[in-house]
Structure formats: C-alpha cells, structure tokens
Symmetry: C2
DNA sequence: CCAAAAGTGTTGACCGTACACCCATGA
DNA sequence: TCATGGGTGTACGGTCAACACTTTTGG
C-alpha cells in the first residue's frame, strides 16, 4: 500500500506510509497507530524491519526511520481505506519509484518475507480464516516469484499436518470448486515453538 | 564483550557497550566509532540487529537503542583493549545478568547468528586467515550449542569447495597436528551472490 | 608405548523434484 | 460436450545422519 505524497518535498511521488514517533509511545505502538490511522485496521501483524540512519536519506533534514512491515489478510483490504484519495494497493512486481530510500525498504521487506515464509506458516497472517490450497499456493508463488508444482506443494503442506480440511467448497474461481481448509492453531503453535525449516 | 558500568543507574552491573548517536553520523558510523573507541579495532564486521523503542526500557529517561552486533576474529581479541579495567570477554553461555533489556539483545544476536551461519560462511569474519577444520567445527558447535559429527562436518564443508588446503599444520592443540585451510575468496563471493542454504 | 586429537567411507532413510492424467462442474 | 481449474502417485537422485577405526606424534 502506497500513498501519493501531497506535500513537499517530492510532492506527487509515491511513498510508504509513515509518521512520527510520539514522546510516550513505543516504536511498535507508533507503527500500529500509523497503520490504523490510514486503514482503520486493528489486530494486524506488524514486524520491525530495519532502522535507516544515514544522514542524507531525507534531503530536508536529518531523519531516522524505523521501518515496519505489516501482513494484511487477503479480503481485509476491501475495507474502506481512510485517506482513500491518496492510498492505493500495488502488486509487488509493479511498485513504482518511491521517494528517498523507500524502494530499498520494500526490497528488504520482500527478502524478509521470503525467508520467513520458509520457517513459519505465514498464511496465518495473510489468508482469511478459510482458504483453499490453491490460494495458499498462489501466496507462496507471489512471495517467491516463481511457479510451484501443485502436486509437490500439496504434499508438502499437508504432510506438515497444520491444516484441517473443511466440508465446504469454494465455488468461485473454478467449475469443480476447491475444498476449504483452516489452520490447526494448536499444531501450529507446536510447530513454531520447535522451530522448523522448510524448502520450497 | 561486556563492560562494568561505572556510573549510575545500575552502577557496577554488566552491560553491553553503547554510546550516543552524533548529529552528523549515520547509525552504522556510530556503531563503528563506539566499537573502535573501546577496542581500537577497525575493519570489523558489524550488522544492525534491532531497534528497541519501549518507553520504559531505561528507567531514567526515554532512550531508543539501535543494537548492532560485531563479529571479531578469534585472535584479534588479544589486542589491548582500551578501557581494559572495565571491559571483559565472556563465553556466551556464561553471560551474567545485564542492565535493562541487554540480555534480550544478546539473545536476539545469538538467534541471528545461528540463522546466519546456515546461509553464510561466517567463518570468514570469525576465524583468522588460516584455520583448521576442527577450529571451524568448534565455531559452529559454539554457535549452535551442540556437538557435530566430525566426519559429516568435514564432508559437508569440503563439498562446498570454499576451502583451500595449505601445506602447513597447526602443531599446537594436538600431537598429530591439523592442516590449515584458507577461504577461497572468489568461490565464496560466487556462493554468497547465488545465495545458499545449508543444514547443520 | 600410550594418550589425544586428526583424519577417513559407507549405508539407510528421508526429502525434494520431476512428471501426466483423471475429476467435477458451469456454461 | 468442453473448457477450466482441482485433485492425485510414483520413481529417481541427492542429502543428512549414524556410525568405528586408523594415523600421527609429543611426552
């Protein structure tokens, strides 16, 4: 999600969403507040990415920026966006030139996400409650920017035992319909606490 | 490397090394400067770890801390440490209670290092120019806090083709003596640029 | 001659990858 | 009936893990 800057410098260019830390809030709280102000969303997965501290990043004055990235469930982004006029979603491969070092931030976030997706079932944060295996596969394909074999993907994902199959099919998107699944929260917690690695 | 605080609050407790960012330096430069002031070392591998921004981390006043960790070659730490009276090296498993959230920082650094050691030959930064395979193995054992099978370790490491065997033995440490090796810088760069993963 | 660390190969289990066809259904 | 995406199994090769004995040499 990018916003079109409506003030100088670089007015009119696309930019990541940002704001200033207040005296009595933590960095995490600030990130939540800023995201919430723009989108109205709560309960969003947020993770600190990196702190950018070069003296000349912002040509105006010296600014330190601690970048965070959020994972927002597919479907939630239909919610009304507050400053709708300026905020817009972009597919990751079509991100335009951004102000300052923001493209570097996006790049770092993507690398973090790729790595993370190999050691944690991030679908939890990015998919709706009920989702199909083809949906999950597409998520991994977008993150890793390559196509995956559906037989192998399904085998791998199911072998982890984290998914519960529901007795319900998604009817949109195909003639046949795809079964919905749900993450098994308990097994997931086991998994995470033991740490796992997973090639894809 | 820890220092004993010689000022309040928490005077006498162990602490990580820190300092304040100056107006005209980047975070990276500040980290280098602070490390150099204490140890006299240059050309040290430094990596930003995380920025701690809770409002009550320091009971005195509000402080934001961007933590960095350094990898210092075994052997270099024999160099005279400037503030020698207060700085001391600790084995990782014997780190005492530290001030504020510094134990959390150490913990995060260790986790980062474990992960990193699986995707990059960190021996480059941590071992002297010439090193033996048993030395390299001990490095991985310390980082991962478990023993490794020397046959498997040797096989794995050599199969990567990153090491050049020298015609020289380390005579201390064993009767038989162990051959020295050296990293092959070119192949290493290839490796890193292609990215690799490596189970241990 | 002996203690102590260096050095060496094989095997089985598991996992990743490649690959092709049938199924269900709405139009 | 057909186009579309969902769903399934097998076989090969590579990699990890387990495991025990020989070599060298200073004391």
């Amino acid at each position: 999600m990018l916003i079109k800057r409506d003030f100088l410098p670089q007015k009119g260019k696309w930019s990541l969403v940002g704001g200033f830390l207040e005296a009595k809030e933590s960095l995490d709280q600030a990130a939540l507040r800023i995201l919430n102000n723009l989108t109205g969303l709560n309960d969003i997965y947020l993770e600190q990415l990196y702190t950018y501290g070069d003296t000349d990043r912002d040509p105006g004055e010296r600014v330190l920026s601690t970048a965070y990235y959020a994972l927002i469930k597919a479907g939630d982004y239909h919610l009304p966006i507050k400053r709708e006029s300026t905020a817009k979603w972009f597919p990751i491969e079509k991100i335009p030139n951004l102000i300052f070092d923001h493209n570097i931030m996006v790049d770092k976030a993507m690398r973090r996400l790729k790595r993370k997706s190999l050691s944690q079932p991030i679908g939890f944060e990015l998919l709706p409650e009920k989702f199909t295996i083809p949906q999950l596969q597409k998520l991994y394909e977008v993150i890793h920017q390559r196509e995956l074999d559906k037989r192998n993907f399904r085998k791998k994902i199911l072998s982890m035992g984290l998914l519960k199959k529901l007795n319900e099919k998604q009817k949109s998107g195909s003639r046949k319909g795809a079964f919905y699944y749900r993450f098994d929260k308990e097994k997931y917690d086991d998994f995470v606490s033991r740490g796992f690695h997973f090639e894809i």
